[in-house]
């Protein structure tokens, strides 16, 4: 049984039997896709399992990768405009060589909308980490800027397309040094709101949750004949 289980686990794309410490919450997008597939199977509808209708992309494997990066604390006094700095790191090693990446979407959950209804306007900056983080260095050296945008209300989850970055990391794993996320506060001249600002940043730090939704396609399991007609 051990041998046969090992073979089947390889078919599932696993090296060994997973032993999760706790069940992770299933993101709503995966839940919906799963339920739609089950409903189609129950009703006997023919379905193209290599096309994810909800996401509008080809693929038969969806992974929600958890962020393994750390919050960054500077020993120097933080700049007045800087609210939060965090390294984001996603381990892509589970993606097998034969898989083709078709989508990589970064999701940043900035917490419930109510936190910021009367708070300052925020700006989000996301850049690639250029060099490995060394001890004693306050923040990793930022490289190419990927995103710089205001975060208007309402907040909640914001999404960014990282397909090109993920493809690059997947083909050159040594390049995957993570991302540097910085959330800045716009218009900090009014020092009267400073206490409110600190409160906003503290709450943001507590509620921030990052994940990378990666969709890939295994050509061995997705034959050309099952492709959707345009």
């Amino acid at each position: 049984f051990q041998f046969q289980e090992h073979v089947f686990l390889q078919f599932l794309g696993l090296d060994k039997v997973p032993s999760p410490q706790k069940f992770q919450p299933v993101p709503s997008v995966l839940k919906k896709i799963f339920r739609d597939q089950e409903a189609a199977a129950t009703s006997g509808d023919s379905q193209d399992l290599c096309y994810i209708k909800d996401l509008g992309t080809r693929g038969n494997i969806l992974r929600l990768l958890l962020d393994q990066g750390l919050f960054l604390y500077s020993e120097k006094l933080p700049q007045a405009s800087s609210c939060l700095q965090k390294q984001l790191y996603f381990n892509l090693s589970a993606i097998q060589d034969k898989e083709q990446l078709t989508m990589a979407q970064l999701g940043l959950d900035l917490g419930p909308n109510t936190y910021y209804k009367q708070g300052p306007e925020l700006e989000l900056a996301l850049s690639l980490v250029q060099e490995p983080h060394v001890w004693g260095q306050s923040i990793p050296k930022p490289g190419k800027m990927l995103v710089l945008q205001s975060v208007p209300w309402p907040q909640g989850v914001v999404h960014f397309n990282l397909l090109d970055v993920a493809k690059d990391w997947n083909s050159n794993p040594q390049k995957n040094l993570g991302l540097l996320l910085e959330i800045l506060v716009k218009g900090t001249r009014d020092w009267g709101v400073n206490f409110q600002l600190q409160d906003t940043c503290a709450r943001l730090r507590q509620s921030l949750h990052a994940s990378l939704l990666v969709v890939s396609l295994n050509p061995e399991q997705c034959h050309p004949s099952s492709r959707r007609r345009r």
Binding site: P18, S19, I33, A41
Partner: protein, 114 residues
């Protein structure tokens, strides 16, 4: 020369049987989030030459059954899945990532001789 058909009851002829795979029986409930199990079914039964044409058989099975009648050393056609359908599975890998994956050919819908 006419080939004698072996006596076979309808119940023992090739057809699909119900088989529910419960992931708890395999210990896989610890990492598979959903489904808890699924009706996979299986194929079992005889494929006698006399019934080969009516048992959803391939032309190849028919020829094999014919050759078996001539030369018993050639094995009989066997009862195999002829139509399969996929399922989706939600599970956690070793890095605690949640994965949704679609797997083809997991459920036996129809059987035949092949």
């Amino acid at each position: 020369e006419a080939v004698l058909a072996p006596k076979t009851s309808c119940g023992s002829l090739c057809h699909h049987h119900q088989l529910f795979i419960n992931f708890q029986d395999l210990g896989w409930h610890k990492w598979i989030i959903a489904p808890k199990g699924f009706m996979a079914n299986y194929c079992h039964g005889d494929c006698p030459f006399s019934m080969t044409t009516s048992l959803n058989s391939s032309n190849y099975a028919f020829m094999q059954a014919l050759m078996h009648a001539v030369d018993p050393e050639i094995p009989q056609a066997v009862c195999i899945p002829t139509k399969l359908s996929p399922i989706s599975m939600l599970y956690q890998d070793n890095d605690d990532n949640v994965i949704l994956r679609h797997y083809e050919d997991m459920v036996v819908d129809e059987c035949g001789c092949g």
